[in-house]
Symmetry: C2
Subunit: 144 residues, 2 copies
């Protein structure tokens, strides 16, 4: 069975290294509801986090942390959510999601039922900065 994260980018690519790429989710309900929704996608097709070696795991989480730090610095979210599930697409990827107390699902997980109406016209307009600036800051943080 072909893996969609091996054959496609899985989002808008904002950074790429030999070990992983970082994409922003730009399609569908998730992008409209949670505009600062990034994914770190490991390059190699492995299913579980513990399939990585210790140095790979540390590099992976250092990068996830760098994304989180950019989201905090640029957008001051109420909370950052990190998760690797992979039940549907078992190719290691980390969700890094800026959550806001005004978003449609807060404080529920993004995968749960909505708690309130979505922001009219899309939630991106309520962010403190344009997403392009956040993308650029993530790319810069990961190039260090």
């Amino acid at each position: 069975m072909s893996c969609p994260l091996c054959t496609g980018d899985g989002g808008l690519v904002v950074a790429r290294t030999p070990q992983y790429r970082v994409v922003r989710v730009v399609e569908g309900d998730e992008a409209r509801r949670f505009p600062a929704f990034y994914r770190l996608i490991w390059a190699a097709h492995v299913a579980e986090f513990s399939d990585l070696s210790a140095p790979e795991r540390h590099a992976c989480m250092d990068a996830v942390t760098a994304i989180e730090q950019v989201l905090r610095a640029r957008l001051a979210p109420t909370k950052v959510n990190l998760a690797t599930l992979g039940n549907v697409v078992p190719h290691l990827h980390w969700h890094v999601i800026a959550r806001f107390d005004w978003d449609s699902h807060f404080p529920a997980p993004v995968w749960a039922a909505p708690q309130r109406d979505e922001v009219a016209g899309g939630a991106a307009a309520r962010l403190a900065q344009p997403l392009a600036a956040v993308d650029a800051a993530i790319a810069q943080a990961l190039s260090r």
Copy 2:
């Protein structure tokens, strides 16, 4: 406001170090639906993963990985799910959940809508080993 993870254990404690404790979720819908559901709860009251220093982050994820490895070795889950959300209780804790293709929500996240009926009498009976054996293996793995 008092923090429930500062004032209580947050589950059945299976391991404890100066930096964190590991608990198994033993109450409520989650424990019945997802019996191999563990949480690593950081001892210090910090909200975000990136509030930790780099050595703390590595120690935290090494422990999360050790839990995952025990779950894989003992229970052969279809997938392991890792997440730190903290929208409701902003005290750093990692969910480490063994998922099975027969569980009530698979392949959806545990926070989403169920996909099928729950296992009659509780899902723990379908696990390859008693949970007490898994608890003991986690305690041993984290004492190394």
